[in-house]
């Protein structure tokens, strides 16, 4: 009896990790955009959805096999992110913060509209690169799709770390974000760095979308519920920390599942308000999140 209850509990934990992996993937994109440009991109989810549809079109309409489509989508997303930054964000990024917010919201509406226009609202399926097989560990079922998602996001964290710590490009990216004026003085092409940041974030978003779609289903609204959870994960882990995004996402997934199942008052319906509460509590108690560095405001 106890063993069964424990297995059920562990199953919830495992599905929490699975959901959390999805939040983490999108959170990574949010973190990179914020870290490289200081912007919170409300349209991140829609950009990810659009890129995922590109992958779908390549595999479904044009018969490409998965991995070539995957790579092609990444290339597309990079260009897409870069172009969006150059055309839409650059004119407004140095002005009033409010203008930037409205512009990213305009992008959200426009990208969503574009997806519905081109691909209709009918649900579609994107295959999973990890197959649909599962492993059974003492009554607890773990799917390769979920394991793969978590491994990929962790792998990306490592790659990003390598990029930022050990390459000149990474250094330039960090400099452009932290102190654009001085970076310019030492020869960093700041606006290209910012564009690169957007391109990189778009690639991460596309990866997030392609990992999410096999589980959740591909439709134009796919990323919208996930966006808030991704924000919560990013805030929890530290809005400038990729590792924080992943840890935050996984922790949030498990936390929401367990609260939803074992706290009767909350139930499954209040997961979103709980995520909201997490955002609030973190921003008040420790705004820099688990892995972030506290920001000191200089007068």
């Amino acid at each position: 009896m106890l063993a069964a209850a424990f297995a059920d509990f562990m199953q919830q934990v495992v599905s929490g990790f699975a959901s959390g992996g999805i939040y983490a993937a999108l959170a990574l994109a949010l973190v990179i955009i914020h870290r490289s440009t200081g912007v919170i991109n409300f349209s991140q989810g829609e950009m990810a959805t659009l890129c995922t549809y590109i992958a779908w079109t390549l595999t479904f309409n044009h018969g490409w096999s998965y991995w070539p489509a995957f790579v092609a989508t990444l290339v597309f997303s990079f260009v897409f992110g870069l172009a969006t930054h150059r055309i839409v964000i650059r004119p407004v990024e140095r002005g009033n913060v409010l203008r930037v917010v409205i512009v990213t919201i305009g992008l959200l509406i426009a990208f969503n509209g574009f997806v519905v226009w081109q691909w209709s609202g009918e649900p579609k399926a994107l295959q999973s690169p990890f197959g649909t097989d599962t492993i059974d560990v003492g009554g607890v079922v773990i799917s390769w799709q979920d394991v793969g998602t978590i491994l990929v996001t962790l792998g990306i964290v490592v790659l990003l770390w390598l990029l930022f710590q050990f390459t000149k490009l990474g250094l330039a990216l960090r400099a452009a974000a932290v102190n654009p004026e001085e970076a310019r003085l030492v020869g960093v092409r700041v606006s290209w760095m910012l564009g690169l940041g957007w391109g990189l974030a778009a690639v991460l978003g596309a990866v997030a979308g392609m990992l999410t779609a096999p589980t959740v289903g591909l439709d134009p609204q796919m990323m919208q519920p996930i966006l808030i959870y991704a924000f919560a994960a990013a805030v929890l882990g530290g809005i400038d920390s990729p590792l924080g995004a992943v840890v935050g996402g996984l922790a949030l997934g498990v936390l929401l599942n367990l609260i939803g199942v074992y706290v009767d008052f909350v139930g499954a319906e209040l997961k979103l308000p709980v995520a909201l509460l997490v955002i609030f509590v973190v921003l008040i108690v420790r705004p820099s999140g688990i892995f972030g560095r506290p920001e000191v405001k200089r007068v």
């Binding site: 912007v39 919170i40 409300f42 839409v88 004119p91 407004v92 002005g95 009033n96 913060v97 409010l98 203008r99 917010v101 409205i102 512009v103 919201i105 305009g106 992008l107 959200l108 509406i109 426009a110 990208f111 969503n112 509209g113 574009f114 997806v115 519905v116 226009w117 081109q118 209709s120 609202g121 134009p220 808030i228 924000f231 919560a232 805030v235 139930g267 319906e269 209040l270 979103l272 308000p273 995520a275 909201l276 955002i279 609030f280 921003l283 008040i284 705004p287 007068v299």
Partner: protein, 364 residues
């Protein structure tokens, strides 16, 4: 122009506006009067949001949630929640006439806003936008969950409830009979104009200067003795109260409230309306309100008229093409941010400056 003269011009403009508002229903159809009533409701919400965002510099993407608080307060005060099976301490007895619920709704929403102001102190700029966005998204879920209190997804239907003035029969007021649409129009615009004057009074005084100081430079404000906390929280409270009144009127006008009547789209539109109308201006807000109302109802229908047919690809779209109107709307929003950074109100201000500086330069 001396400040005195500016004020005089302001007064005259306002008086002219009041006259126009008062006379308008005689010249338009009853249905249009109802549409303009909604413009008045949005104006109230925008006035509040403007105080918070335009004058105090705090971004809120969640004002729809404060409207929802006002709307639900009004509905519950009129109907009570015994019908949902709730007994005990949380039971609300209904039976209050709809107009009297308006100030209470404003008060309740204002208190919620004040409470929200405390944690919001720690957030600024984008983080505040993010947090308020999350509030607006989460509020419908919470309303659905606590259905013993709010009527859940089915909401609260007010039509036919005796405390509601609305209906298809004319309303009696001051001994005269008034069509429902006209009554709604006058109710909304009376409240709107009163609150407009109220906002003007708040903003021209010390409070307004303190708000602006907080927006322009927090360090300077603190060093001149302006308590950041007090004014930020106050701004939240006032703007939430305005939104609550707007929400209350909205519910009275729609005669229905449920979690979907105040979606995240509304919060987004409110912020857009304030920016398009012109941050920190009062005059442009009327345009912001008109913008919101007609964008919500008319955009999909009127897209055909707005987008020229000769534009390749885009010219082919109409209401039958799902998604295309939204794409165009997003694009228009972005273009507005490029070319009208100060909104419509900004155009007025610049036009006004051009006029007055012309006077100056003539050496008159």
């Amino acid at each position: 122009m001396t400040p005195r003269q500016k004020q005089l011009v302001g007064f005259v403009a306002f008086a002219a506006f009041v006259v126009v508002v008062a006379l308008l229903p005689a010249f338009i159809s009853a249905f249009r009067a109802q549409q303009f009533a909604f413009v008045g409701i949005y104006l109230i919400a925008l006035l509040g949001l403007n105080i918070l965002t335009g004058y105090t510099g705090q971004i809120s993407l969640g004002h729809g949630a404060f409207m929802a608080v006002g709307g639900y307060t009004t509905a519950l005060l009129m109907v009570g929640n015994e019908q949902f099976g709730q007994t005990g301490a949380l039971a609300i007895e209904g039976g209050m006439k709809d107009v009297w619920t308006i100030p209470i709704a404003g008060l309740v929403a204002g208190l919620v806003g004040l409470a929200f102001g405390f944690p919001a102190l720690r957030l600024s700029g984008l983080y505040l936008a993010l947090a308020t966005f999350a509030v607006a998204v989460a509020t419908p879920s919470a309303a659905k969950r606590f259905q013993e209190f709010t009527g859940g997804g089915s909401g609260i239907n007010l039509f036919g409830v005796p405390e509601l003035t609305a209906g298809l029969t004319p309303v009696e007021i001051f001994g005269r009979e008034l069509a429902f649409n006209d009554w709604l129009y006058y109710l909304c615009w009376t409240v709107a104009l009163v609150l407009f004057a109220g906002a003007w009074l708040i903003l021209r005084g010390r409070t307004g200067r303190a708000f602006r100081a907080v927006r322009d430079s927090e360090t300077a404000a603190v060093s001149s003795g302006v308590s950041l906390a007090r004014y930020k929280i106050l701004a939240f409270g006032i703007s939430a109260a305005y939104a609550g009144v707007a929400g209350s009127l909205y519910t009275i006008a729609i005669t229905f409230v449920n979690p979907d009547t105040f979606p995240i789209a509304l919060s987004i539109f409110l912020l857009v309306g304030v920016v398009v109308g012109g941050l920190g201006q009062l005059g442009g807000l009327v345009f912001g309100a008109i913008f919101i109302h007609f964008m919500q109802i008319e955009w999909a229908q009127q897209m055909d008229a707005v987008v020229p047919d000769f534009l390749p690809i885009i010219g082919d779209i109409d209401t039958d093409t799902p998604g295309a109107p939204a794409l165009a709307f997003g694009a228009v929003l972005i273009l507005l941010m490029f070319f009208l950074p100060n909104g419509v109100g900004g155009i007025f201000r610049r036009a006004g400056q051009a006029l007055t500086s012309w006077r100056y330069s003539r050496g008159a």
